[in-house]
């Protein structure tokens, strides 16, 4: 029977992995490191619990107005030349992507981390069709070399040791073995660098769709998604429809929360918002940008009022990281795109309840997931609801009978008494066969001693005691049996879809959303800047706090007395790092520091550049829009930062900023750029914190995974 397969595979993988003590130890160690980092980052927030509440209210508002948000998103994105596609299922999504690739005559594709593409098995189909597809997130790249799906949807190769990765590289890339994680990262960097420069198309996912501006926001540490969005001529982003946030300013709350919950960082290295392909006057970026909005059963989940909040998920992975089931069976056992508690909740909705209900059963319902979820999804209660729904849909005859007998007898004193007497009588006999293949309780006794029944039960003790107040027992209610609570099913049936066949997928998805949400009319919710400020990390003293936060994430920061001092510092950096050639764009600050200093030779990227020449430069020097003291971040756009690639392709990124550009916090940063660009957004806005980094190899932080190895900020 086909439906048995996922469960039997799950059971055999879980048996194998729970017996692999080395594996269990590695995952536990990794997760404790995560736990310590996350606890520290949560501590930076003034009120983490209130932040969770704000985030969940924002997401609830967004999801309950999904229809309007998606239409607004489409309109805003289209206005800037982005092509928005709607895919009702995997097949349609693949078809859309294939037709773009064919029309653009694409041969070589690079992909930054895209979980939705795992969901639609895109790589398999692309490779079978003869495309050359390369994953460029370090962890995904390693898993691709292993021909294995991601182990954890945030940390794809967390189950591998350094030695296993070294052996893999030795076998596949013919490199010398090493036990140095930096050397391993640099092997991947050198190999992947070339592919960014030569790929025809880049495929990305997105963490958020910003309805108000028609942007997608991508969070990453390595810089691979930034390079993917900067260099190939065609960019395709495959995004689930539930990723919507109403306002760009919502990012001020969600970005630090995603980082904290996801990896335990105060903020992730690159948080980039894309607003279209290359815009008029811009020097780089793709000519064409396609966004594929993916339904693929999300509207069915939306139609379930009990579990709709599972669509609030921001895929931080926190629920996996705290889950004792995940920590003991690992990510591979699940056999799903999304592992851990969120995967166990949503996979039955995405891929069929009967085939995947065992994942909801395989939980002790400890609730650690729900307690940690930054958007307050009621995860473990949803596991219970999935169990109930599975039974209502197709009860197991034997188990159902057992529970009926249980229900009828457990609170009937006579039956209870006879049952316990029999059990007590059977106990000595059971001891003879305990843990043997004859033992009906072997599932317990194989590893655990059977609990002994007490010689005198509490009830016996109470009855013989003859004290205390006895009230006459009342007969149990002979029960008005009520029909099982009907699961609201407003999702369009297949027949309906047949009737409405002429509908295009866009209209079909929007109609599904409208029907799914017909039971609810909540008010939209927008967290104010003041509400966000009250929960986000406090800011008191701008310069010292910026310095501390930037240096914490390994950026180098120099507060210079004046322009002359900044100029001297830049010259000192050039000598210290032995820069042979630098690249910069024209601007007031770069003119003052670079042009007038006689740096020679330098590459001026203002009117465009040769990507190979830019890649060979030792440093890219840019201006920015603002510095954010709260997180130690640099806010720059394609306009202020000289395009998409200058700040990410050279090995060293140097940012020049004036003191009045230093702002207190993220809400202030988003307010500034909205005022500055609100009517004409540059195609890229990015929040950079520290140099490019990865923790994909045994959670050891290595700088310069793909983007700059160094980030220096000069302020005067």
């Amino acid at each position: 029977m086909q439906s048995v397969v996922p469960k039997s595979e799950f059971l055999s993988a879980a048996t194998r992995l729970t017996n692999d003590l080395v594996h269990r130890e590695r995952i536990h160690t990794g997760m404790w490191k995560y736990y310590d980092a996350r606890t520290r980052s949560q501590g930076f927030f003034q009120d983490w619990q209130q932040a969770r509440l704000l985030a969940s209210q924002t997401k609830k508002g967004a999801i309950s107005h999904l229809h309007e948000h998606l239409v607004e998103f489409e309109q805003k994105a289209t206005a800037r030349g982005t092509v928005v596609h709607w895919a009702k299922d995997s097949e349609e999504a693949r078809k859309i992507i294939f037709s773009i690739l064919e029309r653009r005559e694409v041969k070589r594709i690079i992909k930054s981390k895209v979980m939705t593409s795992e969901e639609i098995h895109l790589n398999d189909h692309l490779e079978r069709a003869g495309y050359h597809v390369l994953e460029n997130d370090l962890g995904e790249y390693i898993q691709q070399l292993r021909n294995e799906p991601p182990y954890h949807f945030v940390a794809p190769c967390m189950h591998l040791s350094m030695k296993e990765i070294s052996d893999l590289f030795e076998e596949k890339l013919k490199t010398a073995p090493t036990d140095d994680p930096e050397e391993l990262t640099m092997i991947a960097r050198r190999f992947l660098r070339q592919t960014y420069l030569t790929a025809d198309a880049g495929i990305t996912g997105a963490n958020f769709l910003i309805a108000e501006t028609g942007m997608i926001s991508i969070t990453e540490n390595e810089g691979n998604a930034r390079l993917t969005g900067a260099l190939p001529k065609t960019m395709i982003s495959l995004v689930g429809i539930e990723k919507v946030l109403p306002k760009m300013s919502d990012l001020a709350l969600f970005l630090p929360m995603l980082a904290t919950a996801g990896t335990g960082q105060p903020i992730t290295c690159y948080n980039t918002a894309y607003a279209g392909p290359r815009q008029p006057g811009e020097i780089d970026g793709p000519d064409e940008w396609h966004i594929v909005l993916l339904d693929n059963h999300r509207t069915a989940l939306l139609a379930d009022p009990e579990q709709r909040d599972a669509l609030h998920c921001i895929r931080c992975g926190a629920c996996l990281n705290v889950c004792p089931i995940f920590k003991n069976i690992g990510g591979i056992s699940y056999g799903t795109t999304y592992q851990g508690p969120i995967g166990s909740v949503i996979t039955p909705h995405l891929r069929g309840l009967q085939d995947w209900k065992h994942l909801s059963g395989s939980s002790s319902l400890c609730g650690a997931c729900t307690a940690t979820c930054p958007v307050k999804i009621d995860l473990h209660h949803h596991l219970l609801q999935n169990r109930r729904n599975a039974v209502q849909e197709r009860p197991d005859p034997l188990e159902g009978l057992a529970w009926r007998l249980f229900a009828k007898s457990i609170n009937k004193p006579v039956v209870y008494q006879i049952g316990t007497k029999l059990a007590k009588l059977a106990q000595p006999f059971h001891r003879l066969i305990s843990a043997t293949p004859l033992d009906p309780m072997r599932a317990w006794t194989k590893t655990r001693h059977a609990p002994a029944m007490a010689p005198q039960s509490f009830k016996d003790w109470w009855r013989t005691r003859n004290t205390g107040v006895r009230t006459p027992s009342s007969a149990p209610q002979t029960g008005v049996r009520t029909p099982p609570s009907a699961k609201t099913k407003t999702h369009l049936s297949k027949a309906d879809e047949g009737v409405r066949a002429p509908l295009q997928s866009r209209e079909l998805i929007l109609a599904r959303i409208e029907e799914a949400l017909s039971d609810t009319h909540p008010q939209p919710f927008e967290a104010t800047a003041a509400q966000k400020r009250a929960v986000l990390p406090a800011v008191h003293d701008l310069v010292p706090q910026f310095a501390a936060n930037a240096e914490f994430l390994r950026a180098e920061f120099h507060a210079c007395a004046d322009e002359a001092a900044a100029k001297a510092k830049l010259a000192e950096l050039a000598t210290k790092h032995g820069w042979k050639k630098i690249a910069t764009h024209r601007g007031t600050l770069t003119d003052a520091l670079v042009r007038s200093s006689g740096f020679s030779p330098f590459l001026d990227t203002t009117d465009g550049y040769d990507r190979f020449e830019l890649e060979a430069c030792d440093a890219g020097i840019t201006e920015c829009d603002a510095l954010i003291a709260q997180t130690g971040s640099v806010f720059l756009t394609a306009r202020s930062g000289g395009g998409r690639a200058l700040s990410v392709l050279p090995e060293h990124h140097v940012v020049l900023a004036r003191r009045d550009q230093l702002l207190a916090d993220l809400p202030a940063g988003y307010e500034l750029i909205r005022q500055r660009y609100g009517s004409q957004w540059p195609s890229l806005t990015t929040l950079i914190t520290g140099p490019s980094r990865t923790g994909d190899i045994e959670r050891i932080i290595i700088l310069g995974a793909h983007g700059p190895k160094k980030l220096t900020i000069l302020l005067w």
């Binding site: 939980s363 001693h449 007490a454 209610q477």
Partner: protein, 239 residues
């Protein structure tokens, strides 16, 4: 106060001493105990298995019998969560919904009742041993009971509480989960036992007999000297 005591099946049959200790403590504080000895189970097992009709059938006598009680004390965080939190979900939209809500409001897990209802933390107990405490998941996360047990243990003479790293991690019992997915349940229990052992405690204390039954089963099978004990038994200990 007339306190209705709910004794779950596994306390009744496997660790009655926990129930007896609770009776002694509450009576010692001058309260009267009403024990409905016809009740054996709150209905959680079929509820967790997805058989909610059957769970309702098992739970109805409980609702009915406890309808007129002034306060209900439950000798387990897990059954406490069932009665206090999950009945509301189980009976949502059912004729008994109001009754389930009323029961929820007057249900107390034992340590919560002592500390937060009666305002008692010092019971004059002495237990000169090094112990570590296991937070049962339902008590910890459904009922938010991190503190009461520790406030009680703090006042026990001679007792040294050493917190284990995995104090808040599930022991792996999870009811029928322990036999439907025994390999995962066992692995989780092993993690818990190892963490408890790392504290060099003599006793592993908890407010949940079901977790302790699971952990004791593992400890005995592995011939570990660490012993499990219900917090009520610690609180009735005297030298």
């Amino acid at each position: 106060m007339l306190i209705t005591l709910f004794i779950p099946c596994f306390v009744d049959l496997i660790s009655p001493q926990a129930g007896i200790s609770i009776v002694n403590i509450l009576e010692g504080l001058g309260h009267q105990i009403d024990y409905p000895d016809e009740l054996g189970c709150c209905g959680q097992p079929p509820f967790n298995a997805g058989y909610w009709d059957e769970a309702r059938e098992a739970a109805r006598p409980v609702l009915q019998r406890l309808r007129d009680s002034e306060a209900v004390v439950i000798a387990s965080g897990s059954c406490g969560a069932m009665s206090k939190v999950f009945y509301k979900e189980l009976f949502h939209g059912q004729p008994e919904e109001a009754e389930a809500n009323a029961l929820s409001a007057k249900c107390w897990e034992f340590t919560d009742f002592l500390v937060n209802k009666l305002g008692v933390t010092d019971l004059g107990a002495s237990f000169p041993h090094k112990v570590t405490y296991h937070d049962g998941c339902h008590g910890l996360r459904e009922l938010n009971l991190k503190k009461p047990a520790r406030q009680l243990l703090e006042k026990v003479r001679g007792l040294q509480l050493v917190e284990m790293k995995e104090a808040e991690t599930c022991c792996g019992f999870g009811g029928t989960f322990s036999t439907k997915f025994p390999m995962i349940s066992t692995a989780m229990g092993e993690v818990k036992c190892a963490s408890a052992r790392d504290t060099n405690a003599e006793y592993l204390v908890s407010g949940d007999s079901s977790c302790l039954m699971h952990l004791q089963g593992l400890l005995t099978a592995q011939r570990q000297p660490l012993k499990t004990i219900h917090i009520a038994e610690v609180l009735t200990s005297r030298i």
